[in-house]
Symmetry: none
Subunit: 238 residues, 2 copies
DNA sequence: TGGGAGCGTCAGAGTTCCGTCAAAGACGGT
DNA sequence: ACCGTCTTTGACGGAACTCTGACGCTCCCA
């Protein structure tokens, strides 16, 4: 397996490393980048949560001993809005601490000092099982009469031409398309696209929904696919 | 969390324990049963694969040192057809063996001797993340002769067309449908839909119940599904 | 047979919510 | 430092939704 993603080598796996010890971060970053992961790093809990919200990593490696906040709090902060795999690092061998971290929502717990091989193997395992359950092929292509969305390639095609979407537009589209037919509440949309601390800024939604409609709907002022449910949320229909 | 299943306490979680050391199996079985898990045990790889196929466990605890076959072979045998979480136990601390087991498809790796608390926490973590991703329950459909309610998608279909409901109408419908066949008092309806400080504003109910009937009943003035129980409340019947 | 209580129906007033536009701010690359 | 792109913000008109009061109906009981 050359690519860390295994099944879908199109885009590489994004890892968020959270640790306050520079040498550990360096070792991790070097090893991960050598294996074609994209890596973000944070050295405290606050920036970690922020990065998680903006960068949407595919897996998180978290050292419990942070300067600004309890590691378990970081886990809870993440679990409030995402199911991203969390791999905990810790110098403590205490059983209680392991139990607490795992029950707070961590996926795995590795005690320092750890072997890099083992850590990478556990990371692969965490990423692998987070992949969609559909045995291999997944309905990454969604088609409507007017346009086609390729979730894997992150591409939208309309009338033979690729439509250019900004990151936010794409993210919004992705959440809606992944819930085709289902109503998605404005709160959920805001939190998934803008991060867990958002939830009431519905004007963002109005602006970006308008952009999507302008780019994808045949008649943007009478949308067929991006339906508004007043007071509740939005719904994508094929 | 009292029940090991967490979100769905209806049926207990089924664990398959695979180990050839009787004392370890005994300890695990006792601890697991005390926590209301259903437990099956196998002491070799062949029966393990057989039991896995017939019993469909929710999680597997596997000792790598089996008499009849290599532990990694058991993992591969399982991974050929199921994504059930596999928790590996092993006396070996070797990094290579961990990597091999994890890459073969194991979800976690615990070295003996292990703390029972930690093992149980890792087990909970494995079961938790295997739960369906959709916020909890999904595909809750209620059907009548005239219309269909999809509680997850927040959709009502009638004669092939989607019916549009306002937030209040939805909320009211939801409470009634979740209590299909049962009488729901006006007080309870008012408090669930309009908030705890409401309880006597029965005119709200009259108005919105009329809306629901107009949108969903074949003959709104002679409702079949949204039945009034004078002086008491309302009842939804299929 | 008359009257009251509970319910269904309707339409208008008031409020909230949404689509749209424009401009300012933030960011990254040259 | 400049420019282009993307994101954030504010303002406004119009649409959708909720609330409210009035009226008529039916059922039950005196």
């Amino acid at each position: 397996m050359l690519s860390p993603t295994g099944g879908t080598p199109q885009t590489s796996t994004r890892v968020l490393v959270i640790d306050d010890e520079p040498q550990i971060v360096r070792a991790l970053v070097i090893n991960l980048k050598a294996r074609k992961y994209e890596v973000d790093a944070a050295h405290d809990g606050a920036t970690a949560l922020e990065l998680a919200a903006t960068r949407h990593p595919d897996v998180v490696v978290l050292d419990l001993g942070l300067p600004d906040m309890d590691g378990v709090e970081v886990i809870r902060g993440l679990r409030g809005w995402t199911r991203v795999p969390i791999l905990v690092l810790s110098a403590r061998h205490s059983s209680d601490e392991k139990v607490e971290a795992l029950d707070a929502g961590a996926d795995d717990y590795v005690t320092k000092p750890f072997g890099m091989d083992e850590l990478l193997a556990r990371l692969r395992a965490a990423v692998r099982r987070a992949e969609p359950a559909g045995g291999g092929e997944d309905d990454v292509m969604v088609e409507t009469e007017e346009f086609t969305v390729d979730l894997a390639a992150k591409k939208v095609n309309r009338g033979g031409k690729d439509v250019r979407l900004t990151p936010t537009e794409w993210h919004l589209l992705e959440v809606l398309v992944r819930n085709t037919g289902r109503l998605v509440s404005q709160r959920q949309l805001l939190q998934e696209v803008w991060g867990p601390s958002y939830g009431t800024e519905t004007n963002y939604l109005r602006v970006y929904m308008a952009q999507l409609r302008r780019k994808l709907e045949a008649d943007p002022s009478h949308p067929k696919h991006f339906v508004t449910e007043p007071g509740m949320g939005y719904r994508f229909e094929k």
